[in-house]
Symmetry: C2
Subunit: 557 residues, 2 copies
């Protein structure tokens, strides 16, 4: 089958809408959020497609396959029993490099349209991807569907739009004529070609394989680079499916499918470290631990390295005119996906003297108790709890959750939630632990990332103290998100000033259906790239502009 | 005196023209190249201003001045006898940081207009700057005037235009409304603020203090960062004058003049190394040796580091339909500023079997001899030689020139040129040395940068051999420029493919008044940022986009 020009050029209107959205930052998405929007048979078809993959070899037809590997176990219990190709980079990388010239010659628009076709085909299979994301990340179905489906596709398309815009800032050619007084002008004919840097390596994460993977993947591909996808060993399938779709589309469009390849490691093999320093690898996108992110930044010096690492997300609670709304908003934020989001609030800074609210003054203890009640209420029903929490993604998260209870007074204990469909799933409600900002012993706890369903209600001397702790936290530990509740103009300004100075994204007084841990592609930036939690933001010019270089050829006219 | 809004807003039209130029890449410059364009008394006024500075202390009113230093000696002979403030960074850096909030709050447009006022005042004093550049770099007056004046100002303005454009890709605010079916939409009010990263350090070079310094200086300042200027100890004055003008304009516009400060080192002090790893320094721009550039990239990990280092510029000579034009164009390129440009061709790759030309076939020996004659003819007259060559910038260049004669057969010997006005100036014509691309012993010579008036005529087995040597040179050693002469479509494509794959800027068949070592701001890229000679190009989106971060604040609407 050949991909028709008509089919590809049909995406041009979508690209234009995406370009418009990143300029206006108004709400926009071409990918429906509701499962029903994908057709009546889509849920069953998606599930069947996912089930059909189990117990099979995931063939991709890549060069350099020297074995098969794969040991994914769903956080909900079942083993996936899927084997993926294991690659010999000495064979695969040269094959990927060989694909570059034709992809470069295609130009920015054609590359963008091919990327959009990949996204369109992924979108059509969103139910299948949702199952794959659910059974690798442990996200509840609805979250796996939305965050792993349309929201990830949005972030991928956003990267394509930025890549296209960046590459077309310079025209493909220009005539240059410099006046020379009475003599003839100097005249040159110039061409400008955006040329990718080399092979890009995408190192995927366990919790959001598609959402955190698509921006780098599509930014690199759209700027002319082949992409080698190295998924987290516990979350291979969503990216393997992505690679398969991309290879199909590339081949149908007349390009070498080896522009997108998959590299899965054997247990304990650690191929990311080996691949990351190969001279052919010129771009790396990584989401994961600070330790490995720092290692990449320090050692993969031949590459442009984009990292999202750990951070300590903080909410300053100074005052509110909607106490109930604040509590329910925070309760949801702490509960969603059992706090396993890089954007989940960890530290809630509350003045020990209490706060002013529309329901009267509330002491520190009251605020913490009311928040605990709000979380308890939200998750009191097991069906609702399962729909919000999902399963713990790995035993380390469970270990941290259990350890957290020993760090201070427990304001809300975690409880086990039984899952009706998956008895082996480990589902837990969040724990809230009280800590004292004035106690040096507590600082080690609240100034480290404790990834998972753990939050610290940190008592501080005053709001001013909270603002200074916020500054220190963002500067030293980083933060993907900052939240604040205040009715004081002055406090708002002080918090804003900290976020501007330390480069953190701030959500103020959220009491409705938008949560501090969620961002919308085309409008919100995910991270700032300016504090220790990440060296790049999703998505901005800096995320795409160094993935290619502009090569100029000038000739006498 | 206060800078009026009218005066500032008068620059908006210029900014718009600059924005248009970087988009179309057509010829444009607001800075006249001809010395006469600056008024009848300007030359004498400029010279007088320069002379008045000699033997004085260069007061800047900076905090943290703990002494005075300066030992510049003109490459033309005279000592400048100017002392500059020596700074205590523990006092100066906090003062610079304190200037940030108001500068950030001014916004991208106001910052751009202030930068354009700085450039306008520098432009008005171009004759004074020309003297300062001439007597620190050793450039001949006309080159110091043009490259140190209007061309440097163009590059500064280009950086301002890119910075403005990049910061205004995202609107200052946006309303976001997400439909929720039958329920009320989710609504947020968002603000987006571009916030600089912190203090920028500009490490200046000896040969082009303003041309290579202005892009980084203005890119950082326009994106909201204070800039600490650390000039090369032999080329302080041009950047000291720049800092003084910038401080004046900033103060008049109501900003803290400490947004731009000067740090001059005592002989042998090496303050660049100390400053570069200070936590306050978040951006570094550097032009100079590969050794120190690599050190900065490896060690100043807290900063965004933009480097221009050594390279081995190469010209492939395959064939030409304008033999005479080729020879005179190359002769000029080799001679200008005695080859002390980072863009001067070093290796001329010539097939040992000779080349086809419009004047009949020419053997390797004939091409080299004819080029030697062309250089000899161009520089035969001492007045013309002095006007083109300038003085050798430092004793190391002289040492390399003298050593080059021992590397192979000398096709053109360097000769001393007497300067009528400056008897102590060391002026030398270029040397051309024959080397053999097939001899392993010669490779060490032609695969290292030999900065100065030294070119190697490298005999290669064939044009295909030249293309492969070009590829290896750019990949392993880097190149700021590549040139080629060929009448063959196939050879042209092969060379273009190398330049696209290895990221090098290519000039093809230049035989007139444009030279491979010259680039024009707003149209040509200087370097590619994609090979070992530089990690950034002047100027593109990548050069500005990581100097600031966008901080979002979102509130429920």
């Amino acid at each position: 089958m050949t991909l028709t020009e008509t089919r590809l050029s049909g995406h041009r209107a979508t690209l234009d809408q995406a370009l418009d959205a990143i300029r206006t930052r108004a709400y926009w998405s071409p990918h429906p959020e509701h499962p029903k929007a994908y057709g009546e048979s889509a849920p069953a078809d998606g599930l069947a497609a996912f089930q059909a993959l189990q117990g099979t070899r995931f063939e991709l037809g890549q060069p350099g396959t020297d074995g098969w590997t794969g040991a994914e176990v769903s956080p909900y219990g079942p083993e996936l029993r899927i084997e993926y190709p294991h690659v010999d980079p000495d064979v695969l990388l040269p094959a990927m490099s060989a694909a570059v010239p034709a992809w470069r010659a295609a130009g920015p628009e054609q590359r963008a349209l091919v990327c959009l076709e990949v996204l369109a085909r992924i979108s059509a299979r969103t139910h299948e991807f949702a199952q794959a994301v659910m059974h690798t990340s442990g996200q509840a179905f609805m979250m796996a569907f939305q965050a792993g489906g349309p929201h990830a596709q949005d972030r991928g398309m956003e990267a394509v739009a930025y890549a296209y815009q960046e590459q077309t800032r310079t025209p493909a050619s220009a005539d240059w004529s410099k006046p020379q007084g009475k003599r003839d002008p100097l005249e040159l004919r110039k061409t400008f070609t955006s040329a990718g840097r080399g092979i890009a390596l995408l190192i995927g994460c366990n919790t959001f394989p598609t959402w955190n993977g698509y921006p780098g993947l599509f930014a690199s591909l759209a700027t002319g680079n082949p992409v080698l996808v190295k998924p987290h060993p516990r979350a291979v399938l969503p990216l393997a499916l992505t690679v398969r779709v991309a290879r199909e589309v590339l081949a149908e469009a007349g390009f070498d499918p080896n522009l997108v390849c998959l590299a899965v490691e054997r247990p304990g093999e650690g191929i990311a470290k080996t691949l990351a320093v190969r001279p052919e690898i010129k771009i790396i996108d990584y989401t994961g631990s600070t330790a490995f992110g720092d290692w990449l930044e320090a050692n993969a010096r031949q590459a442009q390295v984009y990292t999202e690492k750990a951070g300590v997300n903080t909410v300053v609670i100074d005052s509110t005119d909607d106490y109930k709304g604040m509590l329910s908003n925070l309760a949801f934020s702490l509960s969603l996906y059992s706090g396993q989001m890089c954007t989940t609030p960890q530290n809630l800074l509350i003045p020990r003297g209490g706060i002013a609210t529309d329901a009267g003054p509330k002491s520190y203890d009251e605020v913490v108790a009311d928040l605990a009640s709000a979380v308890g209420g939200l998750l009191g029903d097991d069906a609702r709890a399962n729909a919000l929490l999902g399963a713990l993604v790995n035993p380390e998260v469970k270990g941290r959750l259990e350890g957290a209870a020993g760090l201070g007074e427990v304001a809300l204990a975690s409880r086990e939630v039984a899952h009706p469909d998956f008895p082996d799933a480990v589902v837990r409600t969040p724990v809230i632990v009280k800590l004292d900002g004035a106690k040096p012993d507590d600082e080690a706890a609240y100034l480290s990332e404790c990834f998972g369903p753990v939050s610290f209600a940190v008592a501080v001397d005053s709001t001013a103290d909270a603002v200074e702790l916020l500054r220190r936290t963002v500067r030293d530990k980083g933060a993907m998100t900052v939240g604040a509740y205040t009715t004081s103009e002055e406090t708002e300004q002080a918090i804003e000033e900290v976020c501007l100075a330390e480069s953190a994204q701030l959500s103020l007084n959220l009491t409705g259906g938008v949560y501090v841990n969620q961002t919308a592609a085309f409008s919100d930036f995910h991270g700032s790239g300016g504090n220790p939690s990440a060296n790049a933001a999703l998505c901005d010019g800096a995320f795409v502009s160094n993935r290619f270089r502009v090569v100029e050829v000038r000739r006498q006219a």
